[in-house]
Symmetry: C5
Subunit: 355 residues, 5 copies
């Protein structure tokens, strides 16, 4: 929710295209790395100045420029100017509360995605916005902070594994998207794990903590859905891009990642259904326990209240109570009545299935 | 709800196009201001007579005529006549219960929007209808009362900040819409704040007041949705307007504000989901508390009712009760039974997880 | 519901086009009135014979023939024959359980609408079916009974107010539809009033009567929706009619009434949401009251049951109970214990927020 | 449900087009009747051999061949062969768990419908599958058992009533569909009756039987919906059939029956909504009754438990209890306290609106 | 759920097209069988080496190559290479968590389906992924493990029963799909059986086990829906395939299986509705039982608490209690009061319908 809160208030009313960083505060300086390759050559370096990356714009090799940290507005602005990005695109890059979207320009495609990572410590899902600019011979990726799910892609490029070194920039963009989408499966697995644990708790000993965990999970699914649903449209638009940047041979890979997206949406909906079902079970288990509490009370009260009345009767101080004087009324008669009454009650309760 | 109530009864049956003000009563006289500008010139003045604004109709500079207060029907009518607005358009301007809509005429575009502002004092959202008429070189904006979210746009025009002074009237109209839409974020942030507060209350001490606040929030979202959903369609229509009033270069800005609208709708739906979830939690916390109340009652009753029976037994006045005469039955036997029974009960309750 | 019940059983199995009146029994004879006008002339008369209205079919002036009471099948049949209406159209006119619909013929358009009026006495909404036949120079309107919402239109025609006298028959048809739609606002205002009253009851003293009123309102909305939803489609079809009967200048008025319909649907849905919300509040207020009842019981029982046990103990007749003989046990010790126990209990209850 | 259960297990794995009867067991032999007519001639006869009906295939008169009982697979097969029906069509005829559907062949149209009849005795709705084959000059109707809703159509043909004798086979097919659809109104009326009865029960004395009847009704609506919803599509397809079998003049009748279908769907949804509303009322009336039970218990307990404590106090056997010895404590003091306590309690309960 | 859990973690980050088996561990070696036939010839054999099946690729006869067990990645890869399958297709075959889908290539169609089988022992539904590759003269089917629902198809081919031997490979593919779809009916019948059993339990003696079975059933329907809904689209795509592999004569069979799919979806939704209804009944039966428990408690307490008060009164030790000394107060007066009070209470309870 903090996401919703901290955002736009700082920005409302500024002219469109004004660049303001709308993410969390970050102190570390941004880090720029470039991986430049074609089938035969390969260079990887970290740049200290943003100007160093401009040379890669028109080089015939595929260049992947990655920026970790977008809180230095000036840096983003310079890249934007040099690579010909619209000021609204730059605004979107800086506004980390974007929903996934794609914008198709003549000479580049702009894509916003949500990269989800699972934080084991706090058992929560962390979201980070990744903006991709796909140009003729380059891909620029903007990330909020260091650390991403692209390490294996870098490995593949370094070692010329798979077909990535033979393909052009659109395949690189696809690979990045694919890595992000693949990672959603991990999140879903974690969620499925937590659902399983919760279900066991539901059967054994549900308490208010269970309820709050169900609720927390439900809320995470709300967020997950928000990240995943628009993704479908994004990939769909990418497939049908008219910019000429997407080669036909990449089409089948995009269809594949599209299928994955559908599958993830499907799974999210299924898990959501499961969580809803758990809420029903939780509520009816509360009712059931209330029922059993009430039964205990009723059984005890129903047995002893009449008996107490009886003891009350013979505790009265009337002078003329002949029963009190008979020898066997207490040791035999009284206890016999008690036993019979209790017996009848028990039979009654058993017939009512309360015992 | 007052909105729904006070409205149309005054109007039903009148011929279409009859101009009747359907808003709240207002005593202040309307206020007309004009901002007239192009890249080089800039004029801003407040007009005392409505006729003074007619000259701006055909001037080549961009003119923004703003009317605060639409309860003087004659004023609206005169503007309508002079600027060639259809009588139904005028009717829509005066009827402040319109839903957001756009109508595309040959030489002007008519847009109705809802400007929401947050009233800190009463913690409620205030709605005001803003009607825009976008012509070739002018924008007329009708507001219900003074005070709006356009102050920063005025500043930008005055100081020639951003690109607004270089653009034509469609960009001005876009800027006004953008300002209204941006302000929705503020409303949503306030709502998110209130949800957060309510959630804390839910965990610590939910009472009926919490329920009523949840309900109030729910109702505000109903209203918010009504304001935001049609907006999407409005901006969509504006993008695809065939009037020739929308320049191609404004298109990308409209797409941007369209994206914002989608994002706001998304957030409204998310917050609504959260509020619904809170209701579930509230209801089950009531059940839980009932449960714990019942448990206390049952524990007390189940322990003491049988014991009371025992005291009842030895309070009876039978003459032949040998136990009463033994020396240690009371100080040892009786209290031993009490302790054993209580102990067994406690073990039983602990096993049932009631303690 | 009577609507659903009394209807079609009488009709099932008859050949299509068989004319049977399917409304409530009516004893009054039907009443036929004609208003005939153009820009310069105006005639209004009540006809005693149906044949008298045939002359208006081909007159160049606009003729509005209104029939109050459609239970005389023969009358409807004669009009149908003379004005060239299909037998299925006549069947639809007589069957007062139609849903709003429009049928486009070559030389006339047939429209079915629901006219709702609010019955103050019984606080219920009354529905009456109005069938319109729009021809080149005439409009025929069939109503179930006298009394309608068209009086102000008649006034306007009589007094040549507004543009109605200058326009042709399509504008008259539009005016009738507009009057019916405008009247829905009144119904909605009444509903909103009732919702407001109910909400106050909900906060102060909800009882089963409140529930039944919520339920009644809910049911009225079901009916209202059924009347309003298809209306949208009807007006949409009317706008796009290919019969050539709708002049272009009427188009904008139809768009206006279309907007009203959308707004009414919107409001109906909003009010429905509110009523649903009220049901939630009602249910949770029942739970809350149960909770408070249980708390009272539990507090009383939890305080007094242990104390009663104590009195039971000292009411026992054991011979060896040394406490009974000490001088201060009763006036000091006993009451001290009572006070301490009660005090602890009260502290406990306050800590649990039950007091 | 039996429908779902008994079916496909017998069939799974057989080659497509294998004819197996999938309905209930029937012992009566099938019955074949033919009605053959044009404007001037009319023949009606019962056939003993299936071969007798083949001659009607190419006769220029309209022939309606009706088969009651489809459990003799061979019979259906022979008709199929002779009239050129695809083996999958025959399979569909025999499989009585079909949903309503239409298949358009070059020279015939195949339609499956559900004929519902109301069984007064068991207050349940009976469904029977009717398959129609509409050819150039013939209609073949397959029914599961004798008894149908077509008797009035036969009468009309016999007596040349209405326009049926003048029309061709498509009008006959329409008439059969119309008869089936008209009959749905009867079913709905019965359901509406039952809803009304249930509603009265809900107000006066709801018990578990009411709940089970609500549930039964709900389930019937599930089935009804399944029968009616696809019908809309069927009639729609029939209207737009490209086989050339549907004359233009029949179009308006089909549109009429289409409207009826929409109206039935509408009514089914409305009644479903009502039944759902009843469930809400039932559940909250249970809660209300629980509430009133609890109140009685609480009032009794709250009044008498403190009083019993008091009697307990003065039933104790302490030697030093000076109150016991005073003359007026019992007849005056004690009873005064009792009256005062009871009085205060009653005031308290009245203030809480429990009495 | 295990399905969701074990999957993609192993895979995330690998280059697309990397073949990793994502199913359960399997130790048995895969088994390859080939059935090769045309109208006149028929061969069936089990292959020991995968290379043996390559010869069937271009043979003019229809070849059905079936692989049971896909955990040997190398095997799948070799088939893929030889039959020209895309590496993403191979990936999909190995990933057994696919949703049903169809991909249309120039010279082959790739289909993924879910084969459901009912496990009588554990009363659960088992899912197995079946991937089909339909080529010009061959069909390759990949299954997760031995055992399938195709045995009757094999019989039909062996015995030249039905038209299968006369048709080409598309008909074989259709037959396999049809067999899988037909088997869904069996699953639904089992579910319907279980629903029926549960409903009886609901009426007689619902307990928490019933709830858990309802929940289990609900969850199976979630899974069933996921398998069936995309199937509709798959068959739809197959019907409209542009590969030229689907002969026109097979079209009607596909339409038939399409209808079955719709019917199955319909039934799944109906059964889901039923299960939801059962949950409502379960919940209200819990409430009802709570109600009856409370009534018993209240009746007992309401009768005996006042009586106990009375015995308490006459158990007090006041010296001046004249009633105690009268001769008939106890045997007559006291018991009379008891009888009268109990009688009045019983009348009251009967009037309140509690007895």
């Amino acid at each position: 929710m903090a996401k919703i809160k901290k955002r736009h208030s700082a920005k409302a009313g500024l002219p469109p295209g004004t660049l303001v960083y709308l993410g969390e505060e970050k102190m570390q300086p941004p880090r720029i790395t470039v991986i430049d390759y074609d089938q035969n050559t390969f260079t990887e370096k970290e740049l200290s100045k943003v100007q160093q990356c401009f040379e890669f714009k028109d080089s015939p090799t595929v260049s992947w420029i990655n920026i970790d940290g977008i809180h230095e507005v000036r840096l983003v602005e310079e890249i934007g100017e040099r690579f010909g990005l619209h000021s609204l695109v730059l605004e979107d890059i800086l506004n980390t509360a974007q929903r996934p979207k794609l914008e198709d320009f003549d000479d580049h495609i702009f894509i916003v995605l949500k990269m989800l990572t699972y934080d084991e410590e706090n058992t929560t899902t962390q979201a980070e916005q990744v903006s991709l600019v796909l140009g003729r011979n380059f891909v620029i990726s903007f990330q909020e902070r260091p650390g991403d799910v692209f390490e294996q892609i870098r490995e593949r490029i370094r070692n010329a594994k798979g077909r990535i070194r033979k393909m052009s920039s659109d395949y690189l963009a696809y690979s990045l998207i694919d890595a992000i989408v693949d990672n959603y499966y991990l999140i879903l697995e974690k969620c499925a794990d937590r659902i399983e644990t919760l279900e066991e708790q539901l059967v054994t000993e549900p308490d208010e903590k269970t309820l709050h965990q169900i609720h927390k999970l439900k809320r995470e699914f709300i967020y997950l859905r928000k990240s995943v649903w628009p993704l479908r449209e994004v990939i769909n638009l990418l497939q049908r891009s008219e910019s000429g940047l997407i080669n036909k041979s990449t089409g089948i890979y995009l269809r594949d990642v599209y299928d994955h997206t559908i599958q993830i949406i499907d799974t999210v909906e299924t898990l959501r259904d499961m969580v809803s079902g758990m809420l029903d079970i939780y509520l009816s288990s509360i009712s059931n326990r209330m029922n059993s509490v009430m039964k205990v009370l009723t059984i005890i009260a129903t047995i002893f209240i009449p008996l107490s009345f009886l003891t009350g009767v013979y505790g009265m101080n009337f002078e003329n109570m002949p029963e009190l004087r008979l020898r066997w009324t207490y040791p035999v008669g009284f206890w016999l009545i008690i036993v019979v009454v209790v017996g009848l009650m028990l039979v009654y309760f058993r017939r009512k299935k309360w015992l």
